[in-house]
Every structure is written in C-alpha cells, then in structure tokens.
C-alpha cells in the first residue's frame, strides 16, 4: 500500500447521509476477481441524476469526498473502497462511518476523517469553489480561509496509513504468540478444533 500523509485538492461536496455501499458500487460490478477498474461503476445511481456532482467538470479527479453521517453503511464489500481509489479519492470527510467501511478504507490508503457536523457543513460550503487539505501528520483539515479542524484517528490505523504498512506481514511476525494462544485455547476448549 502507498504511504499517505497529505491529501490536497478539490472535495466533492456530496453531503448526503447513509450513503450505502450499494450506492458506492452496485452489486453487478462485484463479479470481478481483481481489484482494479471499479471506478467506472462508482456512484452509478447518483451519476444517473441530472447535474450530479460526480460528473461536474470542476470536481473531475477530486481526491476528497465530503459526506453525511453513516457513510459506507450496508454491505462489507471492499469493492467500495477499491472503486473510490480507482476514481482517485484518497480521503473522505464525514461525521461518522460504518465500522466495516472505515476499516476497508484504511486498508486501501483512503483516510476516513471524522469531523462534527458543523465542521462538515463549513467544509461543504468551502468545497463548492475551493480546495481543501487533509493532513494526516498533524491530523487537521484546513481551507484557504484559515479554517482549521482537528480530527482524531485510532493511532494504529494512522500508523498503517502513514507507513503504508502490510498488516498481514505485521501479524505474521507475531506467529509465536498465535501458536501459543492456539495451544492454550485448544486445551481449554477442545471442541473448537473443527
């Protein structure tokens, strides 16, 4: 995974709540056995709306998306994160995310920034005409107008994003502990061996 420290540029001011993963990438795009190329199906149902933001030339290749509460709710499909990466989005700003989506985002180099609704409202306003900066080193979102919003992120997730870390490799380095756990749990709960 590519390390990520800062995301700067235009932000799509979507603003909607409960944007579900069927909206981010409909099921008929899930019949793939690779991770690439899903951007073509991203936000298909919103793109069918006349005058939608995704097809507005001023947001072409915008690296940031701003949304409402509960972004990424619904299905566990990581295709949602793959589709967003494929369309060039590497940061999302919203008041809350579904637990599964925010995990999938981090594992694919997308920064899920959590900010309160009033900050999100201000950023939605700014984003109409101006760029926004998400800085993961300082955990801030800034605008050209001296706005500065601090956010917090689970330190492990932040480290993974900043370092572009391979979690599987990190865990495999702890194999002795896993083996020890298996021996102990197997003795206490022998029925677990299927």
């Amino acid at each position: 995974m590519t390390p990520i420290a800062k995301v700067e540029g235009r932000a799509i001011p979507l603003g909607r709540k409960n944007v579900d993963t069927d909206v981010i990438i409909p099921a008929h795009y899930l019949k793939t056995v690779t991770r690439a190329g899903l951007g073509k199906g991203a936000f298909e149902t919103i793109r069918a709306e006349p005058g939608n933001l995704f097809d507005d030339p001023q947001y072409a290749a915008a690296p940031i998306l701003i949304a409402g509460d509960n972004f990424g709710c619904g299905s566990s499909r990581e295709h949602a994160a793959w589709a967003m990466i494929d369309m060039g989005i590497t940061a999302v700003i919203a008041p809350s995310y579904s637990d599964i989506f925010s995990g999938n985002a981090v594992k694919n180099g997308i920064v899920p920034v959590v900010l309160p609704q009033d900050a999100v409202d201000r950023l939605l306003e700014v984003a109409k005409d101006h760029p926004i900066t998400v800085d993961l080193e300082t955990c801030t979102v800034t605008t050209p107008f001296q706005d500065r919003f601090e956010f917090t992120m689970d330190p492990f997730r932040r480290d993974c994003l900043l370092g572009g870390l391979d979690e599987v490799g990190l865990t495999l380095a702890m194999e002795d502990r896993i083996t020890r756990y298996e021996a102990q749990a197997g003795a206490e709960r022998p029925w677990l061996a299927a």
Binding site: D20, D22, P26, E78, D99, T171
Partner: protein, 480 residues
C-alpha cells in the same frame, strides 16, 4: 481479586485476545471463517502473490451462494448445467478451485447441504456459541443468534484471517436492546428487528455490538434469533448477540460439526458461563415494550424507514432533521409513493421469500400457512420462494410446503442469495415493486430501479395473495 462484572460480548472478546497493543488495538483469534465466492478471489490471489498459505483450513468453510442461479443446477442425468453469466461463472469457478488448492472444506453448488453461508453455518453446527465467526459479508451478524461474536469483514481482512487466523480490532462499545412483554398476534421476529432499526436508526448502532435481552428473545426460537441478529448491521452494529441457553443447546446438539460426548458437556458448561453477569454495564440501553411492535415494513430506501402495516407513507416535512427531509423526498420519488397513502393501498409486482434473513424452515412454514389454499394475485408478476439451503428445501418438501407454494402460484427454487442483491439472474425489474423478506431496501439493491419493501415471510405471503401490501393479521386464523 474481585472480578468486574462483564457482558457476554466482553467475555467472548477477552477469551480471544492473542495480543493487546499499547494503543488498545487487539489481535483477536478467529474460531470460524466462512468464505463465499464474491469477497474471496482477491484474498486468495494476494496469498498466492505473497507465497502465503491458509493457517487453519480446518476452521474455514467455503460455500458458493451469491452468484448461483436458483434454477436447476443439474440435468436429469445429473450433469452440471452451465452458468450463463460469464463473470458469475468465473467467480464461482475461482472458489471451486481456490478451496481445494488451499485445503479448505467446500460445500459445492450441487451438494445437498449447499446454501447461503449464514444458513449453512448454524445448520451444520459450524457456528457455535462463544466463538468468533467472520465472513466477507456483513450479514455474518446473523450467527449472533446462537451466541457467537460474528461480524462481516472486507476482503483485506479475509486475506488476514486466511493467513493468520486473527484480526486486528478495536473493542466495540456495548448496546443492550431489551424487549420485554408479549408480542401481539401476527408479530414475527422480522417485525421485532424492523421495529428496533426504526427506533435506533440505520446508524444508531455504529461502533456498538448489540446484545438482545428480555423475555421476547429468551422465548424466541433459534431461527427467529438468527433473523433478529442478522439485521443488526442494518442498525449500524457490526454484530448482534443473544446469549446461548437451553434453546440454543437443543438446536445445536447432534448437528454434523457440533461437538459430541464429553466435549459437548464441557462446551455447554463453558457456553453457560458466558451470559452477561448481573450488574454488568452496557454503554447504551434501549428498552422496547413488545406490545408496541406491530407487523411492520419499510416505506423508503433506508432500513430505518419503518412503519406499522396500519400506517401511511410519511410526509418528508414530518421529520425534524432537514437532511432526513431531503433524503425522504428522494426516497419517495424513487419508491413512487405519495405522502399520506395508506401502506395497505400500495400494489406490488413481485414477491421474494428468501435470503439469509428469512429462508429457514420456520420462515417457509409461516409463509405457507398464509399461502395455503389461496392464489397469488393476478397483478403479481413473479413470486419466488427460495429456501436458504438444500437441507431446508428437503425438509420443506417433506412437509409438503413446496406443493402449497406451487399450487398457490409461487415458484419453488434452488437455494442461494437470489433476489436479495441482484448478483444472479433473480432481479426485480426497473420500476417494479417487491415485498421482500430480505434485509436491505437500498436504491438498486434488488436490481436497478427496483422498489423494495422489507417484510416478514407471512407478510410477503399476504402481499402475494392480495396483490398489495397487506396486514397479515387479516388473513391469519381465517381459512381461505
């Protein structure tokens, strides 16, 4: 040393901590991993590229379900019939090749035990109380019905579990949803969970694991509990839990993968010890009076858009939150509904009885009871009954339920995810309206432009025979 009272969730969590990092992230051991064809190919591919193996293939079970057509899979001579959609065929073939290549047990498309992973797991006794269960599918929450900590994961996590049998997780907060009292006539477990989601909202459970408590759940069958826990994710909670009890043990005993002999007795003793301690605190408590729950359904495009069947399509202006007003306006435009219309006046085009939420034998019995001796209304274009597994199908046929459905004008299909998610040939055509026992009413979920109303199996059958969204209580107890 005094031990702090703990909840069921905290006890299962504590029993699975392999390592705790300074920042609070825990490495959690995974006891059971269910795999299906849609969210696994990229994980197996990543293992191959990194030259990694599956750590515990014996704790992993693979079943195809999402892409499989629900039409017959073999000809009269027993030959496999081809899958017409090339991409679906490729994805199914990938699982069929990956499972043996990595030594994983595989229940294939023509196996009598094949079905939806979340139906197969409990049915086989693979899903056990007190275990951690994951699957690359958000409805893994389902297995909380047998008292397992079960949750959906993304494909990177599927890869992580395949390689390490663990996951890096932050502990969730706990929410108690307590339903006490007596459920009214015609009120099913599906109505209970729809009511709960309507109450807490689609994001209300985000960051929480829900434990369902109270006499309503204690008195509920395991299949009902699976239905309830299944839709925890529609309320934003990654997992739901219902403490295992004698009902759970009776359900699991003797299932093919359940423990036997001394191990069974030891297991039951441990499972009993997991119940939430008296005095344990939840981070949030929601109390619901069972008497307030009516047969319910959704009107919009979020699972929180719930009304009783006696209700009407709401006016978007009736919501306090301006963004919900806007969302409701968009939902009603998509759904083709007008504020104030009584739900029972809305005609339907399609009926879907199936999905991991409602495709077990009790669901089919409840639907068949309403369908028996009646006919699917003329305005209904398609009415599907899709058993959750081959074993459910066989049981239903032994009870004659297939005949009840077929004689009423329903189609009786092969097991799979079917019309729940528009990945296989079963779809709701654009602009058509479906009374569906599935779990999501999102825009396009059952097919582009499809309009979904989530209902219980009995309510779906009532909609089928009346041709409109109907109050099942008007049809129950009275013969056709």
């Amino acid at each position: 040393m005094s031990i702090k009272p703990r909840t069921l969730y905290e006890k299962i969590w504590d029993a699975h901590v392999v390592d705790r990092r300074d920042d609070g992230t825990c490495l959690i051991y995974i006891d059971r991993h269910l795999v299906h064809e849609v969210t696994s190919p990229q994980a197996f591919e990543a293992l191959r590229l990194a030259n990694r193996t599956v750590r515990r293939p014996d704790l992993t079970l693979a079943v195809p379900d999402h892409n499989l057509p629900t039409t017959p899979r073999q000809d009269a001579a027993g030959n496999r019939l081809p899958i017409e959609d090339a991409e679906s065929a490729q994805q199914l073939a990938a699982l069929e090749a990956n499972a043996p290549a990595f030594g994983i047990r595989y229940i294939g498309a023509t196996d009598a035990a094949q079905g939806i992973v979340h139906v197969v797991g409990p049915e086989q006794g693979f899903s056990l109380p007190g275990t951690t269960i994951v699957c690359g599918d958000s409805h893994t929450a389902c297995h909380g019905g047998v008292g397992a900590l079960a949750f959906g994961i993304g494909t990177s996590e599927v890869e992580h579990v395949l390689a390490t049998q663990t996951l890096l997780l932050q502990q969730s907060k706990t929410m108690e949803v307590r339903v006490e009292g007596t459920l009214g006539f015609g009120v099913s477990p599906k109505d209970v969970i729809l009511h709960v989601i309507g109450r807490i909202g689609a994001g209300g459970g985000t960051g929480y694991v829900i434990e369902y408590t109270g006499n309503v759940f204690r008195e509920m069958s395991i299949e009902g509990r699976l239905t309830v826990s299944n839709m925890s994710i529609e309320g934003g909670a990654r997992a739901g839990l219902i403490a295992a009890d004698d009902t759970t043990f009776a359900y699991l005993k003797g299932r093919p993968m359940a423990p036997t002999g001394d191990e069974w007795d030891k297991a039951v003793a441990w499972w009993r010890s997991l119940a939430t301690d008296p005095g344990a605190a939840y981070d949030k408590v929601v109390v619901i009076d069972a008497a307030d729950i009516a047969p319910s359904l959704t009107w919009g495009t979020s699972p929180e858009d719930v009304v009783p069947i006696t209700g009407a399509v709401p006016d978007p202006m009736s919501f306090a939150d301006p963004s919900k007003q806007e969302a409701a306006r968009k939902s009603l435009a998509y759904m083709g509904l007008t504020p104030g219309t009584r739900m029972q006046e809305v005609a339907v085009d399609n009926i879907f009885i199936g999905s991991c939420t409602n495709s077990r034998i009790e669901d089919l019995r409840a639907a068949a009871e309403v369908a028996r001796g009646r006919r699917v209304a003329d305005n209904v274009k398609q009415a599907l009954v899709v058993p959750g597994s081959g074993l459910v199908k066989r049981q239903a046929e032994a009870e004659g339920l297939d005949r009840v459905f077929i004689e009423a004008g329903f189609e009786w299909r092969e097991p799979g995810c079917s019309m729940c998610l528009a990945m296989n040939p079963d779809k709701v055509p654009p602009g058509q309206r479906c009374a569906s026992t599935s779990n999501r009413n999102f825009v396009g979920r059952q097919g582009p432009g499809a309009r979904t109303h989530l209902v219980s199996p009995a309510m779906a059958a009532a909609a089928a025979v009346t041709g409109r969204l109907a109050d099942v209580r008007d049809l129950m107890g009275a013969s056709a």
